[in-house]
């Protein structure tokens, strides 16, 4: 039998090897796929934040695409129209997104489940309407052109490869911060609120404060990713941040496995790359390509919800446990034995 490293060391090894492999990918694939992977990284940052808000703390935020827009538009507008430095523009985006999230989260922190869903859905439609209708500020439906790639210490992230590495670094940092946050006292408080808000409150957890903070952290991640997106795409328009974007992020979190930080990243990868691969199988010039994307989101989400409620992370955990049992020569436990996986199957039943 193979000598076992301590769990923590093994996890760091897995993280390190994964990042190293991702760093090698651009050497092997075409620019098109590098762009897709860069987009995956950006959306993975949004999804990790969304997972914290919804998967861990149980507060759905259907305006996540709107917060993504806040960062993207702050960066795009301030760097092109006001010639701000890129870093300050991104910080301004974070400030606006954080404030907006705070303002929305206080009233909704008294609410539960579907009320939060509807309030945030309304906010999403409001942000889209703002982007389209306030033309003097946002350029309206036309969008903002001419956003530049960032320059750091004299180096300009001009090529797709270099920008991919920038995104990889930021995404890895967000991943590690989220991971630490989920394992902290705060992370456990979030889970307690998701499991049973009344019980959490009776244990002295300040539920309103935690709900608001989970919401704000998710919005900040989305805004940060939005800034990265604006400089990556060099063009922003309202279409990229409408309600479909929010549903895409939701699909990523559900497919990856709600509550799992790793799942958020895997879910983002699957939801970006799978439709792209499947649409690639369509005949050249097929109509309604966008519809196929919606079709795949919907079908993927339904399949996961029905057949794999823990998402890919849940499946992974089950597989891992099976492998462990096989290696120790024990028969796999009967199906339906207590799984103890922190998926939402039991969690949000009350807070629903």
């Amino acid at each position: 039998m193979m000598r076992q490293l301590p769990t923590a060391a093994r996890e760091w090894t897995v993280v390190g090897v994964t990042v190293a492999l991702l760093a090698l990918v651009p050497l092997a694939v075409a620019t098109f796929w590098i762009q897709l992977l860069a987009l995956t990284g950006i959306l993975a940052i949004v999804t990790m934040g969304f997972n914290l808000t919804f998967g861990v703390a149980g507060q759905i935020n259907l305006a996540i695409g709107g917060f993504f827009a806040v960062g993207a538009y702050a960066s795009a507008l301030l760097t092109t129209k006001a010639s701000w430095p890129i870093g300050y523009a991104a910080l301004a985006g974070l400030g606006i997104a954080g404030t907006l999230a705070y303002l929305v989260a206080w009233p909704t922190s008294r609410l539960r489940g579907l009320y939060v869903a509807m309030a945030t859905l309304a906010l999403q439609l409001g942000i889209t309407a703002f982007l389209v209708h306030t033309e003097p500020i946002t350029n309206g439906p036309v969008g903002v052109f001419g956003v530049k790639r960032p320059v750091v210490g004299g180096f300009r992230f001009a090529t797709e490869q270099s920008y991919y590495y920038l995104i990889l670094v930021v995404a890895t940092a967000v991943f590690l911060v989220m991971r630490a946050l989920l394992r902290s006292r705060t992370g456990r408080a979030y889970e307690a609120i998701r499991e049973d808000e009344d019980a959490a409150r009776s244990l002295g957890i300040r539920t309103a404060l935690y709900k608001v903070s989970a919401f704000v952290v998710g919005a900040l991640c989305a805004s940060l990713a939005g800034s990265l997106y604006a400089h990556f795409n060099r063009f922003v328009s309202p279409e990229s941040f409408d309600v479909v974007r929010s549903i895409q992020i939701l699909t990523m979190a559900v497919v990856g496995g709600l509550g799992s930080n790793v799942g958020a990243v895997v879910g983002a990868a699957v939801v970006v790359l799978l439709p792209e691969y499947l649409i690639g199988l369509l005949p050249e010039g097929a109509p309604n390509v966008g519809l196929y994307q919606s079709l795949i989101f919907g079908a993927l989400m339904l399949l996961v919800l029905i057949f794999a409620p823990g998402g890919i992370a849940g499946l992974g955990r089950r597989l891992w446990r099976r492998l462990g049992q096989l290696r120790r020569g024990r028969p796999p436990s009967a199906p339906g034995s207590p799984a103890g996986s922190p998926d939402l199957s039991d969690a949000a039943r009350r807070s629903g």
Binding site: I60, V104, P107, T108, R110, L111, R112, G113, L114, Y115, A117, M118, A119, L121, A122, L123, L125, G126, A129, V132, H133, E197, V243, I247, L250, V254, N288, L291, S294, L295, F297, G298, A299, M301, L302, L305, I306, F307, P309, L344, S345, D346, A347, A348, R349, R350, S351, G352
Partner: protein, 292 residues
């Protein structure tokens, strides 16, 4: 001002029916159907095709439209919600399931009818009715009359029939209802049929006033839900009153501030109510405290 009032009340009635179409399924299964707006959209689109290109009379088309939306609604329950629930999925998973099913309905409608906007031809050519100083467009009369009919019918069913009693009992205590011999699963399926029928009627009534596209569904759902929140979950007249208030407020905002501001009023009103009075105008305080 008079015109604004008339158009506001008209649109408000539609909001009210959409709001009420959430109610049956919600009361039997505590599921807010996020696909409900897509059902309304489905009704408006199928109606537009049947009355427009196919040339069916408006009042005849209501039949097949309602059958289509009822079928879609009950399939949503049987294939999605019940399957998720059977495997131990949470309420949130079930609600996400309705959202996913709604996406599939939107995709199906797009493939079948195309993505262009469609408008249902109105049943009567324009002979506006004259009521004192008010000039009332014919479709407004149809909508208000239709809403009143639906409301009276639902009120009768809920309060005067055994079926209504079983729904109310199940809403109150699902487990106890099961104990006294109510087949909760069959009942839930039936409530989805009712919700689907209401969505179809809402689509038929509203179709002549809007250019419906496959993307209109979320908007419809939001309007209905805002009316439900402002009116109060679990109340009958609240959503109707709220729908009318909302419709009038939107009409005034559009006329005074510009056409882009209708949505903003909806959103501000909803946030204000969520903040100041989450139980809505007439909702039982219970509903919010226990979550939904």
């Amino acid at each position: 001002m008079d015109e604004l009032l008339v158009s506001g009340v008209t649109v408000g009635c539609v909001y009210a029916i959409i709001a009420l179409s959430f109610a049956p399924a919600f009361s039997s299964s505590s599921i807010v159907n996020f696909g409900q707006g897509e059902l309304v959209m489905l009704g408006a689109m199928v109606g537009a095709v049947l009355v427009g290109p196919a040339g069916l009379p408006y009042f005849v088309a209501i039949g097949p439209v309602v059958v289509v939306t009822m079928t879609a609604s009950v399939l949503m329950y049987l294939l999605v919600i019940r399957e998720i629930r059977r495997r131990g999925g949470s309420v949130i998973s079930q609600i996400l399931g309705t959202l996913a099913a709604g996406i599939l309905i939107r995709v199906a409608v797009s493939f079948l009818f195309g993505q262009q906007a469609r408008r249902l031809p109105a049943p009567f050519s324009e002979h506006p009715a004259q009521l004192g100083p008010l000039t009332i467009p014919t479709q407004s009369v149809v909508i208000v009359a239709g809403t009143v009919l639906v409301l009276v019918a639902m009120w009768l069913v809920y309060t005067k029939t055994l079926f209504g009693l079983t729904i109310r009992a199940t809403a109150l205590r699902r487990d106890v209802a099961q104990l006294v011999g109510i087949d909760v699963h069959r009942l839930t399926a039936v409530t989805f049929l009712v919700g689907g029928a209401l969505a179809g009627i809402a689509g038929m009534l509203y179709g002549p006033l809007v250019n419906a596209t496959p993307w209109s569904g979320l908007q419809f759902a939001l309007w209905g839900f805002v009316a439900l929140i402002i009116g109060g979950l679990g109340s009958w007249w609240g959503p109707v009153l709220a729908g009318v208030i909302l419709g009038v407020a939107e009409a005034i905002a559009k006329a005074r501030l510009g056409s882009g501001y209708g949505e903003s009023v909806t959103i501000v009103l909803m946030l204000a109510f969520l903040y100041l009075r989450p139980t809505g105008l007439m909702g039982a305080p219970d509903v919010v405290r226990h979550g939904a």
